[in-house]
């Protein structure tokens, strides 16, 4: 194995390799999906009402309202902006806080102008004024005439949909590019008979495979990091997360190399991708629906990528909590590596279609 030759192959493949649909889909689809999930599912399944505020005189009230978890508060710079946001449904209700609002609250009657979105739900129309009143009372220092105890019933935990869908985004970002890039590249080389040209140089099949694997893995790592950045999920152990992503990317790339070695055309690759997608994305479904028994996830090899990622980025756990899963993932990577070594050593040049 000559690392200098591998580096040359990587450089040439990156610069002169095909920039086709697979590259476009590998790079753009995960980013668009992550953006969509973040934008859409961050809010779509929340019942929280949205209040827009145009604060004319820098009142304390927006700060107090923002700290409330029962509604979402957005600020606007003018009344026309506020009205436009209400008309579009960006907020359920928009209020204009008048000049001297804070001082008037303690001395007399304050009149607040409010705009209500016509499609706002009745509960939001009822609750937003309640939360508003509660915050004004907090501001004016009212003494609460009651003590409220809150008691949770049951042991089910609330997992927001943005978190439930995160495994799918992460898996897609790491595994689509990681698998399809090396597989597509090998199939492309086989179809164009360029592997034959490479074979007459001093580059070995192992070096060619390694170069293509590295490209796939690097792309998978970059896409995984980008997706997590968009989703805001680096957690408290970013280095542990990067380690998991690196191992996941290597695993994806190894699967891609095996597929590329055994498959001869792109249609078959896509057909296998459609079937194999279930095996790859199975853990994402387990994470999406907590009703599915957790043990099912352990069957899928990609579970050992998703679980540590979720533990770190969503559950806030540290490296110690993920050691077992990372060790299993490392084991899978080693086994896959041995399989590829076997393939490169034992597959005849004919089965790799080096001579057409």
């Amino acid at each position: 194995m000559n690392l200098k030759r591998v580096w040359t192959l990587i450089k040439n493949d990156t610069i002169h390799g095909p920039k086709d649909a697979i590259l476009v889909m590998s790079v753009l689809t995960p980013i668009l999906l992550a953006l969509f999930m973040n934008l859409a599912f961050g809010n779509i399944f929340t019942d929280r009402g949205k209040l827009g505020i145009y604060d004319v005189d820098h009142s304390e009230l927006p700060g107090i309202l923002t700290s409330s978890t029962s509604i979402i508060v957005k600020s606007y710079d003018s009344e026309s902006e506020l009205k436009s946001a209400v008309s579009r449904g960006s907020v359920d209700m928009g209020i204009v806080l008048p000049v001297n609002f804070d001082a008037t609250v303690n001395t007399g009657v304050v009149n607040i102008k409010a705009y209500v979105w016509g499609e706002s739900l009745a509960k939001n129309r009822a609750l937003i004024p309640v939360v508003l009143a509660d915050s004004i009372r907090e501001m004016s220092g009212s003494i609460l005439p009651v003590k409220i105890d809150t008691v949770a019933l049951g042991d089910e935990s609330n997992v927001p949909w943005s978190s439930r869908l995160m495994p799918l985004t992460v898996l897609l970002s790491v595994f689509f590019g990681g698998i399809m890039m090396p597989a597509g590249s090998l199939i492309h080389e086989k179809q164009k008979h360029t592997l034959e040209a490479l074979n007459i140089t001093r580059a070995t099949i192992s070096e060619i495979f390694l170069a293509k694997g590295v490209i796939g893995a690097v792309l998978a790592i970059i896409m995984g990091l980008l997706t997590l950045t968009i989703s805001g999920g680096f957690g408290s152990s970013p280095f542990a997360l990067i380690l998991v992503l690196v191992l996941g990317a290597v695993m994806a790339s190894e699967i891609g190399l095996v597929a590329g070695a055994l498959i001869n055309d792109m249609n078959t690759l896509f057909a296998i991708w459609k079937f194999g997608g279930f095996l790859l994305f199975g853990p994402a479904i387990v994470f999406m629906f907590p009703q599915i028994p957790a043990w099912i996830g352990y069957i899928f090899p990609t579970f050992y990528v998703v679980k540590p990622v979720m533990d770190i980025s969503v559950n806030g756990l540290g490296f110690n909590a993920i050691i077992l899963n990372v060790t299993i993932l490392g084991g899978i990577v080693v086994v896959m590596g041995a399989l590829i070594t076997g393939i490169t050593h034992h597959l005849s040049t004919q089965s790799l279609q080096l001579h057409g």
């Binding site: 019942d47 209020i95 509960k123 009212s142 005439p145 049951g154």
Partner: protein, 352 residues
């Protein structure tokens, strides 16, 4: 124009479409999934904050809550029954008032009110109910807040007649069904060019315009047929069916036009799939904006599918008429003509 040859070409394309398992599968599974998804989604909107309450002695202000718009309060006869109902998932939260609440307040004391909530409930539910209980307690003890609001409702006031999520999704789903045909049409043309059969066909008496016409009719027919099937099943023709049909037809022209253009700027079927997916995502954005109000603003009008999605949404969900939809339909028609023309010109120059 040779209609016999066009028909023969269309028959060949239909066979090609059916034999292309990837797009055939996408079309059939997609259609079934979209229809299934529509019926799985909730058919009504729960506008009210559902709340369980156990109050051996009901303070007058708390009693008003039972008739307040936006809240649906169920009074329980025991605390145990209330807790069980929350555990069963019938209510996300419940309030238990002490039996001597009025007596405590009358003596200047501070009673303890318990708010039970299902541990799976979103946190905002509990905080909202706590805020509600606090406000009612203030009102009951005579601490009236000195503030007043003057409200103005912007847009159609749909209080009590909200559009369910599944109906909000109708424009997105039907536009997505149509958009899938962009890929099919572009793929049909790309296959002809990639395999060199387009040139072979043109050695027959068939003209270039006939070739495009055959592909166009097939593409529009496939898109329009699926659009009609979907909208018929999900009640999309309940209001002004002719207007909806016209909108779908123009939408079908638009997607085929985009398909022609896509095929003209890509090299092969793989490129069509890659770039087509990107175009598909871009064109779906206005539909996503329909289900998440306020997500997109004026910039979405730069995306041509906005005018299709907006027209479908207005007609199906807001009872719009010809006059409301005519501008959108005009823009769509203009855009479709440009796409058709550009696609044909580029294809003719590049390959034929």
């Amino acid at each position: 124009m040779n209609t016999r040859n066009i028909r023969a070409l269309m028959r060949k394309d239909i066979a090609l479409f059916i034999n292309n398992r990837f797009y055939m599968l996408l079309t059939v599974i997609g259609l079934v999934c979209y229809i299934g998804l529509y019926f799985v989604l909730p058919s009504n909107v729960d506008e009210n904050l559902s709340l369980a309450m156990y109050a051996p002695e009901m303070p007058p202000v708390f009693n008003q809550l039972t008739s307040q718009p936006g809240t649906a309060v169920q009074i329980f006869s025991s605390e145990t029954g209330l807790k069980q109902s929350i555990l069963d998932g019938n209510y996300q939260a419940g309030v238990v008032l002490p039996s001597d609440i009025m007596e405590i307040w009358n003596h200047g004391g501070i009673p303890v009110i318990t708010v039970y909530y299902n541990s799976g409930a979103p946190p905002e539910v509990t905080t909202a109910i706590v805020a509600l209980v606090k406000e009612l307690s203030y009102a009951q003890t005579g601490q009236v807040l000195q503030f007043d609001t003057t409200g103005e409702v912007l847009g159609n006031d749909l209080l009590g007649a909200q559009i369910p999520l599944r109906d909000r999704m109708r424009p997105l789903l039907v536009v997505f069904i149509l958009l899938m045909e962009t890929l099919s049409v572009a793929s049909l043309i790309a296959v002809e060019i990639e395999q060199g059969t387009a040139r072979a066909i043109l050695t027959t008496p068939l003209k270039v315009s006939d070739l495009f016409l055959a592909k166009g009719i097939l593409g529009v027919g496939l898109a329009f047929g699926q659009g009609i099937l979907f909208m018929a099943l999900v009640g999309g023709f309940n209001h002004l069916p002719l207007l909806m049909l016209t909108t779908l037809l123009i939408g079908s022209f638009m997607v085929v036009g985009i398909g022609f253009f896509l095929a003209s700027v890509t090299r092969d079927v793989m490129s069509v799939t890659g770039w087509g997916t990107l175009v598909l995502v871009l064109l779906a954005i206005p539909g996503i904006g329909m289900i998440i109000p306020g997500l997109i603003s004026g910039w979405a009008k730069l995306i041509p599918s906005y005018y299709l999605t907006d027209a479908v949404s207005r007609i199906a969900n807001y009872g719009a008429g010809w006059r409301d939809a005519i501008t959108n339909l005009g823009i769509l028609t203009g855009f479709s003509i440009i796409m058709f023309w550009a696609g044909m010109v580029i294809l003719r120059r590049r390959y034929l």
